[in-house]
């Protein structure tokens, strides 16, 4: 028996997210009295694979093949399912991102394994196996019992601490026969977002709403983000109006994020917007209206005109950074 964790790579590199899920899988394996195996698909150098060991993976399995250069949900789930069987994995962990959400449900049917998505802590009980996840877009949580022998979980981003150790993993390059007839997805064009901090990866996010008044007022917000190494985000009406790009739309129907720090500037705090940011560790709200609902979820608040507060805040951050 083992716990298998699928670690996706981005151009041959892992991210914090990858180490979070390995840390989680390894702690869970400990609870189950077994060990964790990280599965990497694609071309990743040995030194990079070894990094997964530091977060507790007992073994790293590496599968690479040209057919795996395209994310085809059927191909990927068939590869992972075969390794689950080979390694007798009883719990499978994936990230709760686009890739994890694409593959986990297919694996669930293939392996007759109950699946729970965006789980946000270790199970309190192993037998019965009960996981905890948010429902109603963060307005409630559910404890869900998984009844099947094999269990599949996707882990919510930024919900589990990285746990580093002296552990070293053995690396196993697994030759693999891939069924080419399964590959149906053809990629015609790729547009990578480069040079920017990805909203879903960012530790700090600076976000603006309709209270920013006009697309021409964003300069101090962007300056604040740059100073803090933060990503920028916005509310739905702001992206609908074309003030900001659609990639920045955060909330129930946009991106769901969980940074350590979220600045909500000129944002009223509608339930649909908060649904996308309620897992943030700390929310700062700047709003001219002291009764804005956003202050109910904020840890720190400033009541004032964003146009006046933002430049002062930028100066304050600069001062501290220069120290």
């Amino acid at each position: 028996m083992s716990v298998l964790v699928f670690t996706e790579n981005w151009d041959g590199k892992f991210k914090k997210l990858s180490f979070e899920i390995v840390s989680y899988a390894s702690k869970l394996a400990e609870k189950l009295g077994t060990f964790s195996i990280a599965l990497s698909i694609g071309n990743v150098e040995k030194t990079e694979l070894e990094r997964l060991g530091k977060y507790g993976a007992g073994k790293v399995i590496n599968v690479s093949d040209n057919l795996l250069n395209i994310l085809d949900n059927q191909v990927y789930s068939s590869v992972i399912a075969q390794i689950v069987k080979k390694e007798d994995a009883k719990v499978i962990i994936l990230a709760c991102n686009n890739t994890g959400k694409a593959i986990a449900p297919r694996l669930s049917v293939k392996l007759k394994a109950g699946a729970a998505s965006c789980v946000s802590k270790l199970p309190d009980s192993i037998d019965p196996f009960i996981v905890f996840k948010k429902v109603h877009s963060g307005n409630a949580f559910a404890n869900i019992r998984i009844n099947t022998d094999i269990k599949i979980l996707t882990l919510a981003q930024n919900s589990f601490e990285l746990i580093e150790s002296e552990n070293h993993a053995t690396i196993e390059n697994l030759p693999f026969q891939i069924d080419a007839t399964l590959l149906k997805t053809q990629v015609k064009e790729v547009q990578k977002l480069t040079g920017k901090i990805l909203l879903t990866d960012a530790d700090i996010v600076v976000s603006g709403g309709r209270g920013m008044k006009s697309p021409d007022n964003w300069a101090p917000l962007i300056e604040l983000a740059d100073l803090l190494g933060a990503a920028t985000a916005c509310t739905r009406p702001v992206s609908d109006e074309g003030w900001r790009p659609h990639e920045e739309h955060t909330g129930q129907t946009g991106k769901i994020i969980a940074p350590n720090l979220y600045f909500a500037i000129g944002i009223s705090g509608s339930t649909q917007h908060i649904a996308g940011v309620s897992s943030s560790k700390c929310i700062v709200a700047i709003n001219i209206d002291k009764d804005a609902p956003v202050f109910e979820v904020a840890r720190y608040g400033i009541v004032g005109d964003a146009m006046k507060v933002l430049p002062r805040l930028v100066e304050a951050v600069k001062e501290i950074k220069n120290k």
Binding site: W10, A115, H136, N260, Y300
Partner: protein
């Protein structure tokens, strides 16, 4: 080509959720039920595709797993413009169960393009679409933000973590859709509401299946700590608190 739009019936997204029976069940009193927002958008996109005859879409059908109480939500979809609907007459107890029920009726009466939403806004499951594709052994594309047909070929934009891809996929397939698939949900016209009353809803009986997962109980989020207000003239204090108290910068 035939399009099937899978819809789930969810509480209005502004609902203040409450639970009853020792936090085992959602308190449904006073809840307004709506078509899951993503499903409303995928229905809109399906109808937009059908509007253009060169796309060759013959019909747009709604599929829903739910008891008779959810029929008003299905009628809403018919009023928006779907041609007909299938309801599988059972409580949608878990994602795998729902997907297996849907697969059963689709196998008996296949569709070329099957649309599911990225998640139901109540359970936030993100599971049914992928599971359905696997039951049907169809390819699936996830995080679909655009879907069009050019010379009979389906072209899809999907979001990947860190970018976008334009992909093609042969029919039949399942698309799991998200933001972008349509701009605004289409609204039912008066005529739509009238004709919806006579459009057919076919009722299928469920197959029996074991549940893979079950909700044990619900919990409410921890109350938020009260907000600490900082003088707008003194944002330096905020920066200090973020550094030394919250330790987030």
């Amino acid at each position: 080509m035939k399009i099937l739009v899978c819809i789930s019936n969810v509480p209005d997204t502004t609902t203040k959720v409450k639970f009853v029976d020792d936090f085992k069940r959602l308190d449904t009193t006073g809840i307004q039920w709506i078509i899951n927002p993503w499903d409303e958008l995928s229905l809109t996109r399906a109808l937009e595709l059908k509007d253009n005859p060169s796309n060759g879409i013959q019909c747009v059908t709604i599929a829903h797993v739910g008891l008779i109480t959810t029929e008003p939500t299905i009628r809403k979809g018919l009023a928006i413009g779907a041609d007909d609907a299938i309801r599988i007459n059972t409580e949608p107890s878990d994602a795998n169960f729902v997907a297996a029920q849907l697969a059963e009726v689709i196998k008996a009466n296949p569709y070329d393009i099957i649309l599911c939403g990225i998640e139901s806004s109540d359970y936030n499951g993100s599971n049914v679409g992928g599971m359905l594709a696997e039951y049907l052994e169809y390819p699936s594309v996830s995080a679909v933000s655009e879907l069009r047909i050019e010379n009979g070929q389906v072209i899809i934009n999907r979001e990947i973590d860190g970018g976008k891809e334009v992909v093609t996929i042969p029919v039949p397939f399942v698309a799991i859709v998200q933001k972008g698939i349509a701009r605004e949900p289409r609204i039912a016209s008066m005529r739509g509401i009238m004709t919806a009353r006579t459009k057919p809803i076919k009722v299928s009986e469920p197959i029996t299946l074991d549940l893979f997962t079950e909700v044990v109980n619900f919990e409410m989020p921890k109350p938020h700590p009260t907000c600490k207000f900082i003088d707008p003239e003194n944002p330096k204090l905020l920066v200090e608190l973020l550094q030394n108290e919250a330790k987030v910068i």
